[in-house]
């Protein structure tokens, strides 16, 4: 029989408070695990208890799974009494059932926001707590559902966690688990093993995994990868992977270097969308804004930010989403390859791609000239007013079959039709209105805020209508007026942010009112219900 490994051999645990704390040497080692439902946190806690028990120590775990198992955040808590059972002479240490703020020795979190949450709860003590945090994010619903970018800043979260830990190792626990085809719990078990805070030999940890009997090989792979990542040394982890920003360097003629990359990208986008002439139109529009910016900011104090942002949103707007563009994108070879990758299909697997389309009357009519579009739209509006559902074509198109592919290819080839359509004309008119507004401000700050409003234009159907209405309202009511430009710029900024706050536009309307602008006109929306009869009436 091997000797019981002693906790005393772990200096970090025993020497930490030894001088001041008479309980040192008998104080339990405390481990707090923050995980999401379905990540195997319960198994991890069970493994830790079994590990300590096998090695001759008293251990206890608790949890509050309840309904938190359904993808919610939850915690598991483990305490290990640092004296071997053999030295206890039958006495039973009183072990805690819940983590105590500032009294956690090891904290491990499988998700970054959850790590920060526990820092915020006061759980971590920078003089005591060793932290292993995953850099991976599982976005909360509140972050995902925003109309713009509602995600928390990962770098900031990690910095906060680091500041409140004795030492901190951060690595991608979820990614490591995926790469090893195992669950996060196995990776976390390996990270805890490598942390060196529990004095048990690696073989003892692995023996617990082997004894579990399910998915042993994958768990051991995950364990080993985490062991290597944490490496006992608690080296700082690599930072976040930034989204790729690599861009072609050759600047379009006549544009300063600060905007060349965006203009190039934008130019490529609109040329691909329509044709070379449309590209020229794009360049001409950007040049007009550049000329205006040179007037407003001759010293280039702002680094051409106005031109840059206008060029960005102008390109996206000029390449507005219509059925022709979508069809073209959907039948490209690169797209087929991407789907194969995302679906995780192997080389030998067959792949079928079914696309969901539901073009309505406005989408189809938009490709037609005014004299054809108008009656079509009037007819659709009459249907709607009569309480009928809008007429839409629900399609499931299998684009990996020849018929489906040909249909898509055909629609994708309709680029020639686009400039004759009413939608095209309307978009150009509105673009001109937006650009004119930017150029006419005479104030760089206001112009810049208006340029950023290009962000409101996105999406299809109702989303697109809403964005355009909001922008029009800003241009008409907030961009102009007697107030100083700085005040108007602030109003535009707030309105833009409010427009992305909620779909109903409640926040947007509130901001409009605060700045003395009228609320948006209420849109008629037919609702269909059977009114209850008032008692006494007939």
């Amino acid at each position: 029989m091997t000797a019981v490994p002693a906790f005393a051999s772990v200096p970090a645990f025993d020497s930490l408070h030894a001088a001041a704390d008479p309980q040192a040497g008998t104080r339990p080692l405390t481990i707090l695990i923050a995980a999401l439902g379905g990540e195997g946190g319960g198994v991890l806690a069970e493994w830790l208890v079994e590990l300590a028990t096998r090695c001759g120590y008293v251990a206890q775990s608790t949890s509050i799974p309840g309904v938190a198992q359904r993808t919610g955040a939850t915690t598991y808590y483990v305490e290990i009494h640092p004296q071997p059972i053999s030295e206890l002479a039958g006495r039973r240490p009183v072990l805690g059932l819940a983590a105590v703020p500032g009294a956690v020795d090891v904290f491990i979190a499988s998700e970054l926001l959850e790590a920060a949450r526990h820092a915020g709860n006061g759980m971590l003590d920078p003089a005591r707590t060793l932290v292993i945090a995953s850099t991976s994010r599982s976005l909360t619903t509140a972050e995902r559902m925003q109309m713009g970018d509602g995600r928390s800043d990962g770098e900031h979260l990690l910095r906060t966690v680091r500041e409140h830990s004795l030492a901190c190792v951060a690595f991608d626990i979820a990614g490591t688990a995926r790469a090893c085809a195992t669950v996060p719990s196995a990776v976390m078990f390996g990270a805890l093993a490598a942390s060196g805070r529990l004095p048990f030999p690696r073989e003892a940890w692995e023996a617990v995994i082997r004894a579990s009997g399910r998915g042993v090989e994958a768990s051991l792979r995950g364990f080993d990868r985490a062991w290597q990542n944490v490496g006992g040394a608690f080296a700082p982890a690599a930072g976040f992977v930034q989204p790729p920003q690599s861009l072609p360097a050759n600047a379009a003629a006549g544009f300063p270097a600060e905007v060349a990359d965006i203009v190039n990208l934008g130019l490529a986008r609109v040329r691909d969308y329509q044709d070379a002439a449309y590209g020229e139109r794009y360049l001409a529009r950007v040049r007009a804004v550049l000329a205006c910016e040179r007037r407003l900011d001759p010293e280039v104090a702002q680094g051409y930010a106005l031109t840059r942002e206008t060029a960005r949103f102008l390109a996206l707007w000029m390449a507005f989403d219509d059925i022709v563009r979508v069809a073209r994108l959907k039948c490209s070879a690169t797209r087929f390859a991407r789907v194969r990758r995302e679906a995780g299909a192997g080389d030998d697997d067959l792949l079928r791609i079914v696309d969901h389309f539901k073009p309505g009357v406005p989408e189809l009519a938009g490709l037609l000239p005014a004299r054809l579009e108008a009656p079509l739209l009037r007819w659709a509006a009459r249907r709607r007013a009569n309480g009928k559902a809008p007429l839409e074509l629900a399609l499931h198109l299998d684009v990996t079959r020849i018929r489906g592919f040909l249909a898509l290819r055909l629609v994708g080839g309709l680029r020639w039709l686009r400039p004759h359509g009413m939608r095209f004309a309307r978009e150009q008119a509105m673009i001109e209105q937006w650009l004119a507004c930017i150029v006419d401000t005479g104030d760089w700050g206001l112009a810049h805020e208006l340029a950023l409003c290009g962000r409101l234009i996105k999406g299809y159907g109702a989303t697109n209508d809403r964005g355009r209405d909001n922008l029009a309202h800003i241009l008409t009511h907030l961009a102009v007026g007697a107030q100083p430009a700085a005040v108007r710029a602030e109003a535009v900024r707030r309105a833009r942010e409010a427009a992305l706050a909620d779909e109903a536009g409640t926040t947007f309307d509130q901001v409009l009112r605060e700045h003395g602008a009228p609320s948006r006109p209420v849109k008629a929306q037919p609702i269909n219900f059977v009114p209850r009869r008032v008692q006494g009436s007939r």
């Binding site: 309904v67 938190a68 006495r91 713009g148 995600r151 039948c331």
Partner: protein, 717 residues
């Protein structure tokens, strides 16, 4: 349910001389068998679900012992089951989540307590209180008090918890009174150890049947005039007998301290937190021994006045650590001391919080005040510094983070059949207007969270339809009540459907028929598809709840005329059905059954099946949804209509775009909601459905290659 508890079942067989390692609730289950229990019943609910789940799966072993197990239809039927112990010397145990389950059981409990019991009757309640609780915050204690029941609140150490089960039966028999055994959430999920005893096969059991019913005895009926005598018996005979037993058998524990002028009285369940709080001040060691004597009440009701007096008499001041409101124990102790003329200062909720869980931090705050007043010479500085440091750190982090971090409440599982129904409700309200929405208990109550934010009231399990009865007549538009099949069978059929039909109410009821009581751990109910059907069905992906039509038959049987059954994933059809329900001329009760089997249960079938087929090299088709990022506009309307954890965001790889785009990550089970929503809500055309076939057939492969060839010729880059 498809979860296997085979390991746990084998642990139930452990005999004397072995050590049990496992969860608290399983230890309690084992303790029932060690106590010679004859019958066990209950209604599932966190945190005590496993007791019943394990018992149900331990069928074979329990048959050996002769123990009967019953999965009751609700807590009232479980409580009524204890009626077996009124006349007969049968030990019985039932379990449920409290306080909600105790509320449902209240009628039967009162009528059980009145005549009292011959055989020991134990009610294991999961006290769902504090962090992690999913129900209203109330104490079970009030029920013990009003019905003169025993309430055992054991110290959370498996050894003590197991002993209290065994003693609980004996105490119940000694006092002819049923006993609650109350376990807090963490105690149920506490993983520890205890030394086992042999299980006892009950003397009267399914193997050893009683020949005759008991003789008629009016005194055992909860019926006047017997009830008048019962009331007297409670205070004159039963509670005194209980007090005697508690003191004689040492059920409450007295832990001596180094000083005798101060003391603490604590509920057993809070003992460990109290010790940790004392340790933070250096006033207790790892084994609980320390400065102050502690009276630990493993039996929280009834108190033994003599024991309280003896503990308090020599002390200047005593602190009562009692979780939850009101302070029942503290009030009774004050009365005991007052009557005995003992002048000891009594503290409790004057220094401790009135409401909320007694965490170590909360108790430490009260200790600092109590000790600071009565023994300022003790070293309190360390503990106070610690408390101040936590507060300071919280402020620091809060300042550093700026805004509060977004919450992460529980939500629907990936592929849940209920999510699409809420998408449809959201969409339908665009055409029928906003409706008053009576919510219920169950997984579907997650729709109260974002992105749906549905529900005006929650009145209890199966109560949604009943809870709108006063709203409907007062509102122009029709109301919507949503309940699960679990809630329907638990209560909803009678309190809701029957009442609405009888009163000719004009209302819309939506029943989530997923086949299980899913939120409590996917237990089976009367409308669960049969095991044989699950075994026979070749395609394990298939939802099978349509094979059991008990709900539909029941609804028609009681007289529901307007009934629609809609597969829950068909969002457009569900939306149209809802619109019809809200706009039809039919003015009676309209019931929509949303049919889709619990995805958790389906995945438990699917995963091993797929793994097996892949291993054998057989054809497997799987589905994953995806988003074309160059088509996605970054508006995230799809997420606001779904909330599925696998439909999330990533940075756009298009450098022109600033907003993140939607993406479907690994874990998508291909439920089809993304596609359905794309159509039903006319979302953007970026969604695609990818069907991946592994190990395809020869012909299939040839055809695919041919198509690929043709398409390749016409395809742009």
């Amino acid at each position: 349910m498809e979860v296997s508890f085979s390991k746990e079942v084998s642990q139930l067989r452990q005999g004397a001389g072995t050590t049990f390692h496992g969860e608290g609730i399983l230890a309690i289950t084992k303790a029932l068998l060690q106590s010679g229990v004859s019958y066990v019943g209950g209604y599932q609910g966190a945190p005590v679900s496993h007791l019943l789940d394990v018992m149900v799966q331990a069928e074979d072993y329990l048959a050996e012992l002769g123990v009967h197990v019953e999965a009751c239809s609700n807590e009232a039927s479980a409580a009524a089951m204890l009626g077996a112990s009124i006349h007969y010397p049968l030990r019985g145990a039932v379990t449920w989540k409290s306080v909600v389950g105790t509320n449902v059981a209240a009628d039967a409990l009162s009528n059980l307590c009145s005549p009292g019991v011959t055989g020991g009757a134990l009610i294991v309640v999961g006290e769902d209180y504090g962090e992690g609780a999913s129900v209203i915050q109330e104490r079970t204690y009030a029920f013990a008090l009003k019905s003169s029941m025993i309430l055992i609140d054991p110290r959370p150490d498996l050894e003590v918890m197991v002993r209290m089960v065994e003693e609980g039966f004996a105490l119940s028999e000694a006092a002819n009174t049923p006993a609650f055994l109350q376990l807090r959430i963490r105690a149920c999920h506490l993983r520890g150890r205890f030394e086992c005893k042999d299980n006892i096969a009950p003397a009267v059991s399914r193997r050893h049947l009683m020949a005759d019913p008991a003789a008629f005895d009016y005194g055992r009926l909860a019926h006047p005039p017997a009830t008048f005598r019962h009331e007297k018996l409670k205070s004159e005979a039963r509670l005194p007998a209980a007090r005697r037993y508690i003191v004689e058998q040492g059920l409450n524990e007295l832990f001596d301290g180094r000083r005798d002028d101060l003391g603490i009285i604590v509920q057993g369940g809070v003992y460990n937190a109290l010790i940790r709080a004392l340790q933070q001040f250096g006033l207790a060691d790892a084994f609980g021994a320390g400065e102050l004597p502690i009276l630990n009440l493993n039996v929280a009701y009834p108190l033994a006045p003599q024991q309280i007096e003896d503990f308090c008499r020599s002390k200047r001041a005593v602190l009562v650590v009692e979780e939850g409101q009101p302070e029942f124990i503290e009030q009774e102790i004050a009365l005991i001391l007052h009557r005995a003329g003992i002048a000891t200062r009594l503290h409790g909720k004057d220094v401790l919080p009135m409401a909320g869980e007694y965490s170590v931090e909360a108790i430490a705050g009260g200790l600092a005040t109590f000790i600071g007043e009565h023994a300022p010479e003790l070293p309190l500085a360390g503990g106070r510094d610690w408390l101040a440091a936590i507060a300071a750190r919280r402020e620091m982090v809060s300042a550093a983070l700026g805004a509060p971090l977004p919450a992460r409440p529980p939500g629907f599982c990936v592929g849940c059949p209920e999510r699409p129904v809420f998408s449809a409700i959201k969409l339908a309200q665009q055409t029928v207007g906003k409706v008053h929405y009576a919510a219920d208990i169950g997984c579907h109550s997650f729709a109260t969270f974002e992105p749906f934010s549905f529900g005006h009231t929650i009145l209890g399990y199966g109560m949604s339809l009943a809870s709108r009865a006063g709203v409907s007549p007062m509102m122009q538009r029709r109301t919507l009540a949503v309940m699960g099949d679990g809630g329907f069978w638990h209560n909803g059929l009678l309190t809701g459907v029957e009442s609405a039909l009888f009163n000719c109410d004009d209302a819309v009821l939506l029943i989530m028929k997923n086949g299980y009581t899913s939120a409590t751990g996917t237990q089976e109910i009367i409308s669960t598809p049969d095991d044989e059907i699950k075994a026979q069905t070749a395609d394990k992906h298939q939802s099978l709840v349509d094979r059991n039509v008990t709900i539909e038959h029941t609804l028609r049987g009681v007289g529901v005329k307007w009934l629609r059954v809609v597969p829950s994933y068909e969002v457009a059809r569900m939306k149209a059905t809802l619109e019809e329900a809200f706009s039809t001329d039919f003015d009676g009760l309209k019931v929509i059954v949303a049919e889709g089997e619990c995805q958790l249960e389906r995945q438990r079938r699917v995963k091993p099946w797929v793994a097996g087929r892949l291993k054998r090299g057989e054809r497997v088709q799987r589905v994953k949804y995806g988003v074309d990022e160059d088509v996605c506009s970054g508006d995230h309307a799809c997420i606001r209509l779904s909330g599925c954890p696998t439909l999330t965001l990533k940075d756009s790889s298009d450098p022109l775009r600033v907003d993140p785009v939607a993406t479907v990550i690994d874990g998508c089970v291909g439920c089809g909601l993304c596609g359905e929503n794309a159509h039903a809500a006319t979302l953007c055309p970026s969604f695609y459905r990818a069907e991946v076939v592994s190990n395809p057939g020869v012909f299939e492969r040839l055809l695919a290659r041919l198509r690929q060839g043709v398409i390749g010729l016409l395809q742009p880059a």
